[in-house]
Symmetry: C2
Subunit: 117 residues, 2 copies
DNA sequence: TACATTAATCGCATATTTGGGATAAACGAA
DNA sequence: TTCGTTTATCCCAAATATGCGATTAATGTA
């Protein structure tokens, strides 16, 4: 889309954080990640049995998570085992942590006395 | 959309996390939040001067952040001062932290030896 | 070779997001 | 009252996201 002449500049962290956040922006992807993260180890398309969604839909969400780098997969025909990509998991953790930690957080703000909307 | 007969069930945390993540899923919203979080305190539509986007677009993104609960605003006609909603900020921080912290994280995974894609 | 299993991809419909111009709303100031 | 300032809304266009059925691809097995 981007019809502006002067495009907005983003830092690498800003863009990377947005990518991770977008991957987490759908509850079913949150659920999938939680399953993968807490299951003994890897996981497979048994997700289809745990989540009442079409196989193609689950596959699509897995692809989104794969592209965001939050999971990785091992082809083991005809099955595929997915698991958390620990390296990027830690990266995401770090980015979110730094993002939410703001030194000025303690500065009380006079804003919001009259709540908007 | 959701044409499935048996809808997927999500926990409150899963849904709330997805809502926060969606709010963070666009780099310009990340940038706005960082500006609000690090600026001495509140902020206003000077965002329009800092970010080369149409005023209506900035306003839209602010609305999205407002609806997600990450910011709050104080009407001070004809200006509006926005600032971080600290309460929900902490809630989001907590949710992301718990999400990324997985006890099983240490379990090495044989997955990904043969990288997929 | 023919078949079964598993998962990705395609095609389609619908919904949501994104961006911006134009306009409206709210208010103080002249 | 009429303007000017600031911000939200409305409207439109284009891009993405979401969901699913059908199909394809890859491989082991009978």
């Amino acid at each position: 889309m981007q019809r502006t002449l002067s495009a907005v500049e983003y830092s690498g962290d800003e863009e990377q954080l947005a990518v991770f956040a977008k991957a987490l922006s759908h509850p079913v992807r949150i659920k999938i990640l939680l399953l993968l993260a807490t299951q003994q180890c890897c996981f497979t398309g048994e997700l289809t049995e745990l989540i009442p969604m079409a196989q193609s839909t689950i596959s699509q969400h897995l692809k989104a998570l794969l592209e965001a780098g939050l999971i990785q997969g091992e082809i083991n025909p005809p099955k595929v085992r997915y698991c958390i990509n620990r390296e990027n998991w830690v990266l995401a953790y770090t980015l979110f942590e730094h993002f939410f930690y703001t030194p000025e957080a303690e500065n009380s703000c006079t804003c919001g006395d009259r709540e908007l909307q």
